[in-house]
Amino acid sequence: MKLSSIATGITLGLGLATTSIAVNAENMVPVKAMADALHLVMDSDRTIYTRKIVNRLVKKEKVIKASEHFEDDKALVLPAQMFRFGSELVQKRAEKIPDVNFSYSLQSLWPINKQNAPKTDAEKEGLKFVAENKGKNYYTEETLGGQKYFTAVYADTGVAPVCVSCHNDHKDTPKRDFKLGDVMGGVVIRIPVDG
C-alpha cells in the first residue's frame, strides 16, 4: 500500500498543511490518519453544499427546489446525491490508479433507499456505534471479496433544516421524527490494506 503519494495528493490538493498528517518513518501516512483526512474533506464539502447552496436557495431565498429527480424537476441535486455522485466518480477514477484505491459511501440505519442500509457486519456495528456515541468514530478491519480493508465509520449529522425536513417528509423514509443535530446516518470509508 503506497500511501505517500496519496498523502501528497491530499495535502496539495486540499490545502492541508503536511504537518497536520502524522508521517511515519517510511514517509507513509497511517491508514487511520488517511481515512480521517479523507473524511474531513468529504464532510466539509458536504456541509458547504448543504448549507451554502441547498439550504440557502431552498429555505432562505426560496428560489429553487432540490429534488431526487433533479433532471425532470429542473432542480438542485440533493446533498446525498451530490455525495454519492462524487463517490461514484472517485470509484471510477481510483480504479485506474491502483495506488489510490479507496471507496466510500453514505449509509443509514434509517435509509430512504434500502440499498443504503448497512450490509456488512462492520457497517452494521459501525453505524450503530456512531449513532449511540456522539462525537466518536468507529474503526475496524474486514475482509470482502478476498481483500482486507481498513474500514472507518463517521457519524453523518443533520446540519441544516433541509436535511431534517426532507428526510422526515420523504415517502419512503422509515423514520419521521429526526431533529436538527441528530445523527441521521454515517459515512463509511474503506481502504485496502495488505495481509
Binding site: H69, E88, E95, T120, K171
Partner: protein, 470 residues
Amino acid sequence: MSKHLNAKLWIIWLCLVIGLMGYLAYTLTTGEDKQVFMPGELTGGHHQIGVSCNSCHGEAFSDRDAMQDKCESCHGDQRKKPFDSHPRTKFTDPRNADRLENINALYCVTCHVEHKEDIADNFGVTQPADFCVHCHADIGEDRASHKGMEFETCATAGCHNYHNNRSLYTEFLVKHMDKPELLEKPRVKEKEYASVLEEIMTYPHDRYPVQALDNDDADAPVSVKFSTDASIQDDWANSAHARSGANCTSCHSDPQSEAESASEWLQHPDDSSCKTCHDIETKTFMQGKHGMRLAVDLPAMKVSDAKLPMHEDMGHLKLSCNSCHQAHDYNVQTAAVESCLECHNDNHSNAYKDSEHYALWKKEIAGELPAGSGVSCATCHMPRVNMDVSDWLSRTVVQHNQNATLSPNEKMIRPACISCHGLGFSIDALADEQLIENNFNGRPSIHIESIDMAREDNQRYQQELNENSL
C-alpha cells in the same frame, strides 16, 4: 502395393491438413471475412457486423476487459443517459463483492452472451428472467405492493428496466397518473436547430453565414451547372439548406479541406460531408441499426441484410444519410414517412397509412393542423429529444438511432408517447402486441398495474403525512 497406397494417403492427408491450417491461419490473421470461426448465430443486434469479429472481440485472443471496452465503445452513451441504475461503480464498491459472485455485473457478456441465439430474448438477454432476485429478494418487505410477485415479472412492460430503472419511477407515475388518454394540446417538441446555429462552435459560419440563398447564389462551378439537370438546383433552392445559407460547396467539397476554389469540387459527397454540420445526427444514425456498419468501418448496410421483413425490390439499397434524406431537396417530411415505408414491409408499417396517426400527419403537412400535431414514423421511432451535444450544452435534436426508443419499447414512452397521450394509456398501449401490430387501430386490451400501485403507495404516504402532522 498397400504400403504405397498408405504412403499416398498419408501425403494427401498431410497436404489437406496443411492446406486447411494455412487457410484458417490466413483467415484468422489477415482475412476480412472470419465467419468460418463463428460458433453460433448472432442476435439481431449484432448480426450486421458479424463479418468483422474484431468489432466486438478486439484483436484475436484479447481478454475480457478489451471486449468490454468494445461493448462500451458502441453502447457506452446509451448506458449513461438518461440514467443508469446499475452503473459499474456500484459493483466495484467492495461492499457489493458478494453480489458479484452471483452475477458479475461488471461485464456486459454476463447477461448478454452472444452466439447463443436460441436462448437470447428480443433484447439479447441470456440470463434467466429471474436475475433480479439475487439482490432484490426482500423487495416485498420494502414495498407492500410487490409482496408475492413472481421474480420473472420485474421487467414486465411499464415496470423495471435493469439499465434505466427510473425512467418510470414512482413519483413520475404519480405525477402523470390522472392524465387523460389524449392530452388537451397534443404536440411534439419543436425544431430548434435554426435558432441555435449561432451557438454551434463547429458550424462553418465563416464560409456559409446564415442567410437565405436562391438560384442565383448557387456556387457550383459553371461546368457542373451546365452538365447537370436544372431540377437538381431547383430542389436545392427550395430546401432548408438554401434557406439557411448552405450552398452547393457546403456538401460538394472535402469537409477537411480549407480551400474554396471550384477545383475542390466533390462530385459524390458521403456522410462525412453531412457530419460537418449534423454531427449529432450522424453519430446517432451510426448507433442504430441503419448505420451501425459504418460505425465499425464496414461497407454500408444493404436493405437485403435486414432480418425484419423488407420490400424485396429495395434489397439493393445501401443505407447512408442520403438513402432516407434524398439529396438536394432534403425534404424531412419525406424522410419521416415515405423513406421508411419504401423499405419496411411488416404489418405495423403497412398498417400505418390506415392509422389515426397518419391522418393527423396528412393534415399537418397540408397545413390544416399546426406543426407538431401529426405523427409520422419518425415522431415515435426517431423523435426530437433534448440531447447533450457536449459535456456542457444540450439542445433538441432528432434521435437518429431508431433503437433508442425500442428494446424494450417503454423507452419510447417519455420521448414520444407522452407528448400527446396520458402515461397510463401509453404504458398499456405499448404492452399490447396486437395493437402495435395493427398500428394502434383500437384501444389497449392489456392493463399494466404500475400506476395503480403508485396511486396506492401515494395514498399510504398522504395518510402517513396527515397522521404525522396531527
